[in-house]
Symmetry: C2
């Protein structure tokens, strides 16, 4: 597997992207509509938020997926079309139908995604123009991907994209992707959108299995503040353009799964690194758990502990807060066998602090916290970021 | 039931308190040892943290409770005696034995409690002197209670105490209490200590039932940051001094339970109001849930949402964050029947924002958020506080 320099959703062949500025975002001239189109019908898979207040675009997408193959996804940023009632669903449907008529496909072949403020109806007049402009701008050139990456951003400070190339039976295929994240990222994919494209041919059911598995191990393992949003969605379109076909089992399937995990993992970690106000990314790895579920439970409790996140932000290797979070996580553990490492320094062992100073392990932008529970063999991991005054600023100054 | 002005643990008759400064806290002259003594053996009940890393004093107390009646509780602040291994347990045992020898009772008649930094052995030489000094200072006068309330504080900014008087069959009895809280307060009673005294006579088993029930509805319903500590403990001593006896059932039991709920509730809310960096206390009430468990689950998700807490701190009536937290809480709800009120203003109804401005409802120091899930009849409530930059300051500047 090879990571492609400047990789994007257009690294996979047979895709085009377009974007436009239609004035949904309040910043004048900010791109806010993106359109990703597969030149031919593509097998499609998606994973959506489990929030009971799923937004209109999610409700719409669930109504068309799984179904026929998809030709496109239309995205807007600046307005989430959430908590907008029947009108919101109608707007989502109309947006898809408009894009479909431009592309020349069936309305059920276009998915939609939205992110931004909730509780306000989509400004449909602007959005219609935005979709038309984005369609007119469709291109397979890299600049089109770069524009689309910016168009889906909200409080993100930078675009997030990635692509890899691998092969199946000597035939190369590519997987590319883009994502937006920032605040409210959490397990179950809070306020996070990701769009993945591949030119491999993948049977629809296999594609769904592989995306679900990859999302579980990447997007569902990142958390900024524990909140899950109404709009989180991950899409994967496979158009077969490369001629490489992913088999149900064997080396070809493994090659595809590995490539997919890489792209999804890179995007998920990019989201955490760009968490609101974040200055450091934190990886929490838990080993020695009774079950994988308990390992995840424990890693998440540590990663979501405000006290742990504040300590990392302040450069304090506070093993006590880590141990405490492990203790209340609900995961089985043996206190006298528990071990905590911060970076390469063991700070807690056999139920006691070692006295070793791990402050230097918190100096960089990536922090690794490892915990062994001494209860079993299972492992888990969660990625998060530190909690800073800037996070509080961003989220208390923002007004509805 | 009558709330007593300047009520304290000494409002109940037959109790004495003493305190001392022995230098465990780093601030010179800060009181750090408290002793609460019942003049005669008292029925005792306690509720402890569920953290798997329970501190040595909790392990010790569990070993003597339920058991004989208690004569006293010794408390120190500044050092939690947590993650201190076998030596910590030995120190807890020795502290209890020392107090018992001074009082002239069996060592198993003295419980211990500690709060403060974790991972450091108790400075026993100082603590021994502190226990002796506190014993020498024992008094039933109000000033003794005031000193004890200060001695148990850590990052608390003010002492927390309360007492009420009620009667059973015309005989008056009293319940008093003191507590310390501040950061890391959470369900399962994180870094929180509470000491309750009553001069009612209550059979031990009934006392345990009533304390468990009251704690579930008060101390276990407050959260500052979701973290649960290694040391949380609530004690209730009933010495029968008033001659009022609580029956297994009927009006007398109800009078006692009501009085106990009042004192425990006041202390729990005082803890939230004094949360680290807090400027507002927030009560989240959930109704229309399928079960009480789901109502609590939903109230807790809202109360622990960093986004909701930041919004309240910033004076923003952000119904979207409330709705979103309800949506991912796991509680069953009907989106189109869900309703959110901030203070007396309905901000969300029938799945849509009402457009009403509730900013003025966030102006005071107490904020009420009510959510109706439209799924059933059950109710729940959780108390919390806002999340401010001061919280992040306190918890990132603090160094281990």
């Amino acid at each position: 597997m090879k990571v492609l320099q400047d990789g994007s959703i257009l690294s996979a062949r047979g895709f085009q992207a377009g974007w436009s500025c239609c004035g949904i975002k309040s910043t004048p001239g900010a791109p806010d509509v993106a359109l990703v189109v597969s030149e031919r019908p593509a097998a499609a898979a998606a994973v959506f938020t489990r929030n009971r207040f799923a937004a209109a675009p999610v409700l719409y997408d669930r109504s068309i997926l799984p179904g026929e193959e998809l030709r496109a996804v239309v995205v807007n940023a600046g307005n989430a079309n959430a908590c907008t009632g029947p009108r919101g669903l109608e707007d989502a449907r109309e947006t898809a139908a408009l894009a479909a008529s431009l592309i020349g496909c069936g309305p059920a072949q276009v998915a939609v995604a939205s992110t931004g403020i909730i509780g306000h109806p989509l400004p449909m007049e602007r959005l219609r123009r935005g979709v038309e402009d984005a369609f007119d701008a469709l291109s397979a050139e890299p600049h089109a991907a770069r524009g689309a990456e910016k168009a889906i951003m909200t409080t993100d400070t930078r675009p997030k994209a990635c692509a890899v190339e691998a092969e199946i039976d000597g035939k190369p295929f590519r997987i590319g992707g883009m994502a937006k994240g920032s605040g409210m990222i959490a397990p179950n994919m809070a306020t996070m959108l990701a769009f993945l494209t591949t030119d491999a041919r993948v049977p629809a059911e296999l594609l769904r299995q592989m995306l679900a598995s990859a999302a579980e191990r990447t997007f569902n393992r990142v958390t900024v503040d524990g909140d899950s949003s109404t709009n989180d969605s991950v899409f994967l379109l496979a158009n077969g353009e490369s001629g490489a076909t992913v088999p149900e089992a064997g080396a070809g399937r493994e090659a595809f799964q590995e490539a997919l995990l890489h792209v999804a993992g890179e995007l998920a970690r990019a989201i955490v690194r760009d968490g609101e106000g974040a200055t450091k990314s934190i990886e929490v790895r838990v080993a020695g758990a009774l079950t994988e579920e308990e390992a995840q439970l424990c890693a998440r409790a540590i990663a979501e502990s405000q006290l742990v996140k504040c300590a990392v932000g302040g450069g304090d290797p506070n093993w006590g807060r880590v141990v405490c979070a492990a203790g209340y996580s609900g995961a089985e553990l043996q206190p006298e066998l528990t071990r905590v490492d911060i970076g390469s320094v063991t700070v807690f062992r056999d139920g006691l602090p070692t006295g070793a100073d791990a402050a230097s392990e918190l100096g960089g932008s990536d922090v690794l916290i490892r915990v062994h529970l001494g209860a079993g063999q299972a492992e888990g991991a969660v990625w998060t970021c530190d909690l800073t005054k800037e996070y509080v600023d961003i989220n208390s100054m923002y007004h509805t």
